[in-house]
Symmetry: C2
C-alpha cells in the first residue's frame, strides 16, 4: 500500500450525499446554464467573455482559408484585447479565453455522467461542433492566433497560453469521451496533441519550449492514460525536463539572455527536478506540480518524485492557509515566502485550491499518505466551496480570511479583496474550474488498486469497484457517521482516511492504521460504521505566522468557521474568544463564549485592559460567508 491506487472512474460512482447533492445540483441547475450564457455574452451587467464569439470568428477564418480566400492579420501583442480598440473581426478578450469553453465542457461532461440531460448534451455537442470548426487542418487550435496571425503560432510561449488552452481542451475531450463515448472532441484534442508532439521535443528542428502557464503536462498525461499513446507521456516528460534549463527558452524566444535566475513567476527559474519550494503564480505552480507527480509516477522518476515531495512539504507546512487557500500575495497571484500568510491581504485564488486538490490526488497516487487527503479536504470544504455563492451565479476569485468592506473600497492594497461575490468576470477562470471540480468530486474521494479500495473523502455514493460494490452512506459533515456497506467479489482491503481533525474515531470493525488510513480486511457482505465525532474546536496557527499570534480559529469537522458582522456587529477585532469557554453547535452555526471589548475613543491610552462584556460569538462555515451582503468577516479571532 504505497500509492498507485487510481481514481475510480466517474461513471462507476453515483454520488448520493446530503451535503454534496445540493451542491452538485446547484452546478447542474444554475452554474452550467449561467456560465453557458456568460460564454455567449448574454448576461446583463457581466463583463464580456468573447469566448464563443472567438470560436465563431476562428471558424470563419478556417472556412475562408479552405476556400482559398485571403484573411487579414491583426497584431498579437497584448495580453488582453478587450479594450474597445481591437478591430471588430480580431480576437477579443483575454489570451486564454478559449479555456473557459473547455472547462465548461468538462464540467458538463461530469454532469452528464451523473445525470443524463439531453438539453445539456445538445448544448455541449453544439459547442463541440463550433470548436472543431475552428481547428486548422494541421490540428492547431487556439482562436487567438487563428483569428489574428496564423504565422505567429508558438512564438510567445511565455505569455500567450496556447499550451495551457490545449491542456483544457485535452481534459475536456477525455471527460466528454468518458461521459458520452463520443469521439469528436477527443479526436480534435489528439490532432492538436499530435501537432504539439511534432513541434516540441529534443530532436533536431523541434522547439525546446514549454508553456508559461502550465497545464499541458498533466493534460498530456491524461490523454496518454485515456488513449495509451506513449508520445503524449513522452512530450509531457519533455516539457518538464526542459523547463527552467539555461539559457532560458523564454529569453531565447524574445532574443535576449539573462544570467541571473529568473522566471520564478512561471516556475521556470530552474528545472522542476531541482525545485524544492512552491514559488510564483500559485495556480500555475500546482498545475505543474500535478504534472510532475504524474510523470514521476508513470516514468518511475524518483528524483522528480522527491522534488514533488519537497514542494508538497513546503506548501503543507509553510504556505497553506487554514482554509486550504494558497497564494498569499496579489503580486503575481503568487506564493509568498514561508509563513507569510496574511489574512486581509491574502490572494487564495479559488483556482489555486482547485489545483491543490489535483496535486493532492496525484501525490496520493505516488505515495499514499493521509496528509494529501487532509489538505484536499481543507481546500474542498472551505476555499473551493467559498468560491461559489448560494445562488450559483456569483463567485469569488480571491478568498481572504479577513475582510473589512471599507478597506476593499478605499485601500488600493486590498482592491483584489471583494467583500461579496461578483457576477461573471472577464478573467473567469475560477467559476468553470469550480464547476468541473464539483462535478467530478467523486474522483477525488474514491480510488482503487488490485486489492484495495480507498476512501480519501467521505462522500456518500455507490461505487462500482473492481473488488465489489461499496455503498457509502455519509453524514460526515453533520454527525460524522459514515456507514460503508461492502458487497465484495473477493477479500480486499478497505482503506479509510483518518481525518486530521478527528482524534477518537469509533469503528464497528477492527482495523490497523497505516500512513493515516484505517485498513479494514473485508470479504463478501460487510458493513462498517465509522463515527468521527464532529465537535467544534479551537485551532491555532503556528506562531511563526506573524498575523495569527494571540488568535484562534474555530473548526467543526472539515469546516473552518468565521465570524461575520451580520451576526456579531461591526468591529470583529474587538471580539475575544474564551480559551476555556464552551463551543456549541447550533444547526450549522457554532456559538462560542467570549467577550466584546468596548470601543476606545482615544487613539492612544496608557495601558489598561479595555472594558469588555461577555458575549456569544456566532460563527458560520467559512464557505458560506459573504452571502448576506457586504460585511466584516474574520476567520481568526483573538483569544
Amino acid at each position: 500500500m504505497t500509492g498507485g491506487a487510481r481514481p475510480v472512474p466517474l461513471h462507476r460512482i453515483q454520488v448520493d450525499d446530503p451535503f454534496w447533492n445540493p451542491v452538485i445540483e446547484l452546478v447542474r441547475r444554475e452554474v452550467l446554464p449561467y456560465q453557458y450564457e456568460a460564454l455567449h455574452d448574454r448576461i446583463d451587467g457581466a463583463e464580456k467573455s468573447y469566448c464563443i464569439d472567438n470560436f465563431i470568428k476562428a471558424g470563419r477564418v478556417v472556412q475562408a482559408l479552405q476556400n482559398g480566400k485571403s484573411v487579414p492579420t491583426y497584431p498579437v501583442d497584448k495580453w488582453c484585447y478587450d479594450d474597445g480598440n481591437a478591430a471588430p473581426e480580431a480576437f477579443h478578450g483575454w489570451v486564454f479565453q478559449d479555456s473557459d469553453a473547455y472547462k465548461w465542457l468538462e464540467a458538463a461532461a461530469y454532469s452528464l455522467i451523473s445525470r443524463p440531460d439531453s438539453a445539456l448534451a445538445a448544448k455541449a455537442d453544439g459547442l463541440i461542433d463550433l470548436i472543431c470548426a475552428a481547428q486548422l487542418p494541421n490540428g492547431y487550435l487556439d482562436t487567438l492566433y487563428i483569428i489574428n496571425d496564423r504565422g505567429a503560432v508558438f512564438t510567445n510561449l511565455r505569455d500567450f497560453h496556447e499550451l495551457y488552452c490545449f491542456g483544457h481542451l485535452a481534459e475536456a475531450a477525455v471527460a466528454y469521451y468518458e461521459a458520452t463515448g463520443k469521439t469528436k472532441l477527443l479526436a480534435a484534442a489528439r490532432r492538436f496533441a499530435d501537432l504539439i508532439c511534432d513541434t516540441f521535443g529534443e530532436a533536431d528542428g523541434k522547439k525546446r519550449g514549454y508553456g508559461g502557464h502550465e497545464l499541458a503536462e498533466l493534460a498530456l498525461v491524461r490523454l496518454f492514460e485515456a488513449t495509451g499513446e506513449q508520445r503524449y507521456l513522452d512530450t509531457a516528460r519533455f516539457l518538464i525536463r526542459e523547463r527552467g534549463t539555461k539559457p532560458y527558452y523564454f529569453d531565447r524566444e524574445r532574443g535576449k539572455e539573462t544570467e541571473a535566475d529568473n522566471y520564478f513567476y512561471h516556475q521556470a527559474h530552474t528545472p522542476p527536478v531541482h525545485q524544492h519550494e512552491a514559488v510564483g503564480h500559485a495556480v500555475r505552480g500546482v498545475y505543474l506540480y500535478s504534472g510532475m507527480a504524474d510523470v514521476a509516477r508513470l516514468c518511475h522518476d524518483s528524483a522528480l518524485a522527491a522534488a514533488c515531495q519537497d514542494i508538497w512539504e513546503n506548501i503543507e507546512t509553510k504556505k497553506l492557509y487554514i482554509t486550504g487557500g494558497i497564494g498569499a500575495t496579489v503580486h503575481g497571484e503568487a506564493f509568498s515566502f514561508d509563513y507569510d500568510l496574511p489574512n486581509d491581504l491574502a490572494y487564495c485564488e479559488t483556482c489555486a485550491s482547485v489545483g491543490l486538490i489535483f496535486f493532492a490526488q496525484r501525490m496520493a497516487r505516488l505515495s499514499l499518505n493521509a496528509r494529501y487527503g487532509a489538505v484536499a479536504e481543507r481546500a474542498l470544504y472551505n476555499t473551493v466551496l467559498a468560491g461559489m455563492g448560494e445562488d450559483g451565479k456569483h463567485f469569488f476569485y480571491v478568498n481572504p480570511l479577513e475582510v473589512l468592506p471599507q478597506a476593499s473600497a478605499e485601500d488600493e492594497r486590498k482592491r483584489h479583496v471583494k467583500p461579496v461575490r461578483q457576477p461573471w468576470f472577464s478573467c473567469a477562470c475560477c467559476p468553470p474550474n469550480l464547476a468541473r471540480l464539483i462535478g467530478s468530486v467523486g474522483a477525488y474521494a474514491f480510488a482503487e488498486s488490485a486489492d484495495t479500495v480507498l476512501l480519501h473523502q467521505y462522500i456518500g455514493a455507490t461505487v462500482q469497484t473492481e473488488n465489489g460494490v461499496i455503498t457509502v452512506d455519509s453524514d460526515y459533515c453533520r454527525s460524522g457517521r459514515v456507514t460503508v456497506t461492502v458487497r465484495g467479489k473477493q477479500a480486499f482491503t478497505l482503506a479509510a482516511r483518518l481525518p486530521e481533525w478527528c482524534d477518537s474515531v469509533q469503528a464497528s470493525q477492527p482495523y490497523t492504521v497505516q500512513n493515516g488510513y484505517m485498513l479494514f480486511a473485508v470479504n463478501g457482505e460487510t458493513v462498517i460504521t465509522l463515527d468521527f465525532p464532529v465537535q467544534p474546536k479551537l485551532v491555532r496557527c503556528s506562531n511563526r505566522v506573524r498575523e495569527n499570534v494571540g488568535k484562534a480559529a474555530v473548526t467543526c469537522g472539515p469546516f473552518v468557521y468565521c465570524a461575520e458582522a451580520a451576526d456579531n456587529g461591526d468591529g470583529l477585532q474587538r471580539l475575544v474568544l474564551s480559551k476555556n469557554g464552551a463551543l456549541r453547535r447550533d444547526g450549522d452555526r457554532v456559538l462560542a463564549d467570549g467577550w466584546r471589548e468596548q470601543a476606545d475613543d482615544k487613539l492612544y491610552i496608557e495601558y489598561k485592559e479595555p472594558a469588555r462584556t461577555p458575549t456569544t460569538v456566532t460563527l458560520i462555515p467559512y464557505y458560506r460567508w459573504g452571502n448576506r451582503g457586504e460585511n466584516e468577516m474574520q476567520v481568526y479571532l483573538r483569544i
Copy 2:
C-alpha cells in the same frame, strides 16, 4: 491666551541642550556637507540628483537668451527624466529637483544663525549665485522649464512642481536673509513671487490655477511676514480659495472635464474651506493645511480656521501613528481611511512628519492648545529623528512600525519598507527637509506674544524675548527636569506645555492650567523648576485600530520604544509583554518583563497556549532603530 503667539525668531534663540546639541551638530558637521556633495552628484554609489547640474544648464540657457542665441527645446512630458534617455543638455532628474537646493540653503541658513561658519557661508553664497544666474528676466525660476521649454511654463500645474519649488525658494530666501542679512536670494524669490502674483488670481486674464503639490501657500505667507508685501498674502489666500472649485482647474488645463469628485490625492477635490478630513498625499496635505492655518489667522477667516480644526482633529484622533507618523499607505504616499494604521505596511514619510510639525506650530498660533505641541513632540522625537542615521549619511524615507527584512526583500507589498537607512536617493525630499527642521527646532519650541512667553517644547536654550531673557536648562529627555530661569523686563506669563505623557508634574512655583499649559506669573528674576517624571510606560492603541488589538507599546518620556532582533533574537511576534511586570530604564534602553513563546513546528494545532519561558524584552528608542544592520523591528508587542 487664545493663540496668536508668534515663534521667537531663530536669531534670538541659542539652543544648548544635552539631547539636541549632538543632533544639531551632526546636521552641521555631517548632513549639510554630505547633502551638498549629493546635490553635486559627488557621492559614490548614491543615486544621482542632477540638482546643481540643472541650475548650471539653466544658467547657460539664460545667458544664451540674453546673448540673443537660439536655444533648443526638449519635451516636458514625463515626471522623471532620469532614465538615460534625456538629451545631455536637457533637464535631468525629478521635476521637483530644484527644491533640494533650496531646502539645503534653508538648513544652511539655520546652521549659520546658530553657529557662524565662513566655509558654509561661502558654499551657500556660491549656490545662491548659481541659482540667481538661472532666473529668467521676468522673474521665472524653475530649471525644468527654463532648460526644456520656456514657452510652456505654468501649463501643467497639477504634475509639475513650479509653485512647489517656488515655495522652497521663498522659504530658503527668508531664512537666508534672516540668517545673514543678505538680500540676493530674497530679491530673486520676490521677483518670482511677483511674477506668480501677476500670473495667478481672480482678475481677468489671470490664471485661476493652483499647484498640484502645495507649499506656495505657506511660503507666500512667510514672504508676506518677512516683507509686509500684502499681495503675497492675497495670492496665498487666492490659491486656497480657488483650490478644488469646479470645473476643476486640473481638468481645464488638460482640456477635459470630470463631473465626479476627483483630485483627492492633491487635496483639490473640494475647496479647502469645505475639507474636514485629511486625505490624499500626506506631505502635500500638511503643507496645504499649514498654509490654510496661516491664512485663516492672518485673514481672520473663521470658516477656514474651522476646517483646519476639523482636519487636525481627524489626523490627531484617527490617522496618527504613535510615532507621530502620518500617511498609512504607499499608494499615493497617502492618508488612508480612519483607524487604518497598519504597522508593517505604513508609509509614514519623514517629510510628512516634518510637515505635521509645521501644521502643529500654525494651529497653536491660531488657537493655543497643548494638543498641538504634544503631536509635534511625538513627530519630532520619533519619526523625524528616525529619518536620519547615526552617521548623518543614511536616511529613511518610509518609517514603518514593524519590519521583517525578508518581507522587505521578497514581498512587493513591502518594497517601500527598507530595513536599513539608505544613502542619498534621487527623490531626496526627506533628508534636506529633516536638516532644515532640526536646524530650526528652536522656532517650534519657543513662542511669544505681548504678555506671554510659551514653552511648546522643552529644549535647552537661551531665548531673548520681548519680555526678557529666558534660559531653559533642559534634561527633559533623560531625567525630565527642566529649569527655567527668567530675567524679565516686566511682569508676564510663562506658559509651559504639560506633556501628554506626564500625569504628575512637580513645579517649584504655583501655576494655573489653561488649554494644557501651566501658566506661571513671572516678574523680574525668577527660577522655575519643573520635574516631569520620565518613567517607562505601557501604552496601547485604540481597539478601533485592527492591527494593534492585544498589543502594547512602550514609551518613556517623549520617546516611543521598539524591540529589535539585535537585542531580542528573531521572531519578535513571539515575545509577549507582561501586563503587570516591571519596566526598567537601563541607560536609554528599557527592559521589560515578558515571555518568549517557543516556536511552533506544526502549521495548525488544536488550541493550547504555546509553551513560553520568561524573558527580559529589551527596547530601544524608536528613532535609533535600524542602526545595527538589517533586523526585525516592532513597536507594538503582544501583551
